[in-house]
């Protein structure tokens, strides 16, 4: 959830499964005495660095009743501290020719600046300052709460697809916070106050709950020296709570969401299954699911496109996606947009038949080989985007994974067999799914 993004419409729906492999760019990691984890990704092709501070605290760590507070706090970190005036942080970054922003997800909140390499120390000075020293006023709260409400209006309330997706997640998670939107439910956002923000801040914002990721034209020694000087003096929080969350019960009944909205232009079907995430030291199932999502819904050559768009011509668009970076169980999702004249019921039946057919047909060996080739190639392409590599480390290390897990991932993907994939496909149980229909108020079902 970017603090400010111009074009932010349904990226999650249409993005292909995120690039999977890690590159062999030079990565170094170490720990400061106060528990801050540090990762350095080196790339000296341009005199630029990206400085990112990731907190192991996201919307799924919020207390009940305060949905959206993690993201609200992210906004408030751009207000005053003991040393800086409200807004000064971004002003200083801009005045140094840099760009800064922040984003919140279920399992993390991250702040970043992209600047010329010789401004790294200035960024650390300011980021370390706001880890402990924000000074909020009642007026900050009132104004910024209006901003996040307008953000929710823009991203969600004005967008039936987003409202629909929110309902599907809520139906998927009966007992886990992933069922609550990152930005928050409107009625709870309206009640967020100074105490909500500060109690989240005091509980989670400390060095032993962070991962510092610096990428670009910098050496690990330089980062270590600067980090020890600026972050090192901040004491660890001995009372940092363990991230224990309630778990989903076994799903015994299929769930259905029917969402009607006059603004719907294109009715479609969305399917969600609860599946395991990448677990530290045990990423094999997640690797098989990752490749399964490519096989089923990774574009023109995928199984669903083949069956539903090319052969039966029952769909205008199909996709499947899975992202294993998550602290707790995540979802495997599919979307099918029926062709003109094909009802949602017919579209859903066609999707289910295609999945049955896949279980019988099994994995096409050539397709699997092509997917693995692309994974290997993506290791080369990834080196062209060092900040992307930095993002992978930040998100993985705040989602229960280790540096070793991240580095082992390409090989684990490469080792996935057809048998592993079919076994993973067994996890997509019809009786343990959520099926959503998005349609117009008068639409027939």
């Amino acid at each position: 959830m970017l603090r400010y993004a111009k074009a932010a419409l349904i990226p999650a729906l249409l993005l292909p499964a995120a690039a999977m492999a890690q590159s062999s760019a030079k990565v170094t990691d170490f720990m400061l005495d106060n528990g801050m984890q540090v990762v350095v990704v080196e790339d000296d092709r341009a005199p630029v660095v990206q400085h990112m501070l990731w907190y192991r605290a996201g919307s799924a760590d919020e207390p009940k009743g305060s949905s959206g507070v993690a993201h609200f706090l992210e906004h408030l970190l751009f207000k005053a501290t003991d040393k800086m005036e409200s807004g000064e942080f971004s002003s200083v970054v801009a005045a140094n020719g840099g760009r800064d922003n922040a984003f919140t997800s279920y399992d993390y909140t991250a702040y970043f600046q992209r600047v010329a390499a010789d401004r790294l120390e200035l960024m650390m000075t300011m980021e370390a300052d706001r880890m402990k020293n924000i000074r909020l006023t009642r007026e900050n709260i009132a104004t910024e709460r209006d901003v996040i409400i307008e953000e929710r209006n823009q991203r969600t309330e004005n967008n039936p697809q987003a409202l629909f997706g929110e309902q599907i997640s809520a139906a998927q998670y009966l007992n886990h916070r992933y069922g609550t939107p990152i930005i928050g439910w409107m009625h709870e956002m309206e009640e967020l106050d100074l105490d909500d923000a500060l109690s989240f801040y005091e509980l989670y914002y400390s060095p032993n709950n962070t991962v510092l990721v610096v990428s670009g034209d910098v050496t690990p020694d330089e980062v270590r020296t600067l980090a020890e000087e600026h972050y090192g003096p901040i004491p660890r929080n001995p009372d940092l709570p363990e991230r224990l969350r309630t778990e989903e019960p076994r799903q015994n009944a299929e769930r259905r969401v029917i969402f009607r909205d006059a603004r719907v232009a294109q009715p479609y079907i969305s399917r969600s299954y609860l599946v395991p995430e990448r677990d530290s030291g045990a990423q094999e199932t997640a690797a098989a699911l990752t490749i399964l999502s490519q096989i089923l819904g990774g574009g023109t050559t995928s199984f669903l496109a083949d069956k539903l768009q090319f052969e039966a011509q029952l769909a205008t668009f199909t996709t499947a996606w899975y992202s294993g970076v998550s602290l707790d169980d995540t979802t495997f999702r599919m979307v099918i947009v029926p062709a003109t004249g094909v009802s949602l019921a017919e579209g859903e039946a066609a999707l289910d038949q295609a999945l049955v057919d896949f279980m019988q047909a099994g994995v096409d060996a050539e397709q699997l080989e092509r997917i693995k080739l692309q994974i290997r190639a993506s290791e080369i392409y990834a080196q062209d985007n060092v900040d992307g590599i930095a993002n992978r480390y930040g998100s993985a290390l705040t989602s229960g994974l280790t540096v070793e897990d991240v580095q082992a991932w390409p090989e684990i993907l490469d080792a996935v067999t057809a048998e592993d994939i079919m076994q993973a496909a067994e996890l997509l149980r019809r009786e343990a799914s959520v099926t959503g229909w998005l349609l117009r108020p008068e639409g027939e079902i």
Partner: protein, 436 residues
Amino acid sequence: MIRFATALCLGTAIALPARAEVDIQTVTSPGGIDAWLVEEHSLPFVALEIAFKGGTSLDVEGKRGAVNLMAGLLEEGSGNLDARGFARATEALATSFSFSSSAEELSISARFLTENFDASVALLRDAIQNPRFEQTDIERVRAQVISGLAFDAKDPNDIASKTFATMAYGDHPYGTIDAGTVDSVAALTRDDLVEAHSNVLVRDRVLIGAVGDITPEQLGNLLDALLGDLPETGPLMPPMVEPQIEGGVTVVEFDTPQSVALFGQRGIGVDDDDYFAAVLLNQVLGGGSFESRLMQEVREKRGLTYGVYSYLASRDLANAFMGQVSSSNDRIGEAISVIRDQWQLAAEQGVTEEELANAKTYLTGAYPLRFDGNATIAGILVGMQMIGLDPEYVNTRNDKVERVTLKDVQRAAGELMDPDALHFVVVGKPEGLVSE
């Protein structure tokens, strides 16, 4: 606080912006096709960006949407391969091609590994020169385009863009949706697509940027292989158009909680002597950073929006000075009123010395940060050619920004900004606003 601020100012004053470290070569192929190249041999792949100027603005009368549909079909079967065969072949080479079109250009972005150079070029050559345009593929992609049109017709942002464009540009290609209408797309035939192909993909309108593991000789040969057999030229470009924008408000009723407002007035061309002064003016007014006056006044002080920005829409065939804001229906009126006041203030008083200095530091410092990756740089190379710049521009651009004086900006503000002619198109159920 004071001590810290002083230290920051010092830091800003002594630090010079990093330079964009790209060495642009101009290459002419044996067959006479020009391209820009940045050699970067540290990674074994090439990013290639190709743009054919004109894009969807070259749609033939009555065939709106033909260029867009044609571009969508370039990857759906060519040479000996059908749509799925082409996709499988690109996957087997771990290459990627993307084809898109806009009112300015038809663009092709390609990325391929050095080890698969020849096979990738052969595949791309067929997509560019020998698309099959088979009827089943046409029908499949046509359905996707029509589905997209239906989607856009219910999106407040798209409704606002279309309404503004129709008002400002009328019958000119900039005035209509370039994907066409449901009716016009439904009526397109295979012959229309073939005609669109030969009208748009022509040698004298092609611009090329290549970055990566490739030498000038290899690039020259690649250009002739990819593009050598295309027609030399195509039909005339549509004329320049002066946007017809009068002050006021147009409300488009749409039942949604947050209104989207698109606003604009006439703009300034990239070849205008005051262009950089206008860029700096816009940066201060609403250039997208948190520091802009619009962000400060509309978001930071009043919480009326999540985002507000302005931009110079200086395009190939028309220039406008545009902006956008979204606020809930009961607050959009106030947001618009604040924006109007800011427009008036900037027109009358321009910007302050301090604002200008900050905008310069930002723009000059941010410029080299853009050059971060082969594909991004290839895109920049084509973008520069698109507006007639020379390769040396990457080294002189920051000087052009630095040379702008406060007087220049005040003059540009006075001449460019026209608060009485600023028009707002508002899509939603805005309270207290009516069309005027």
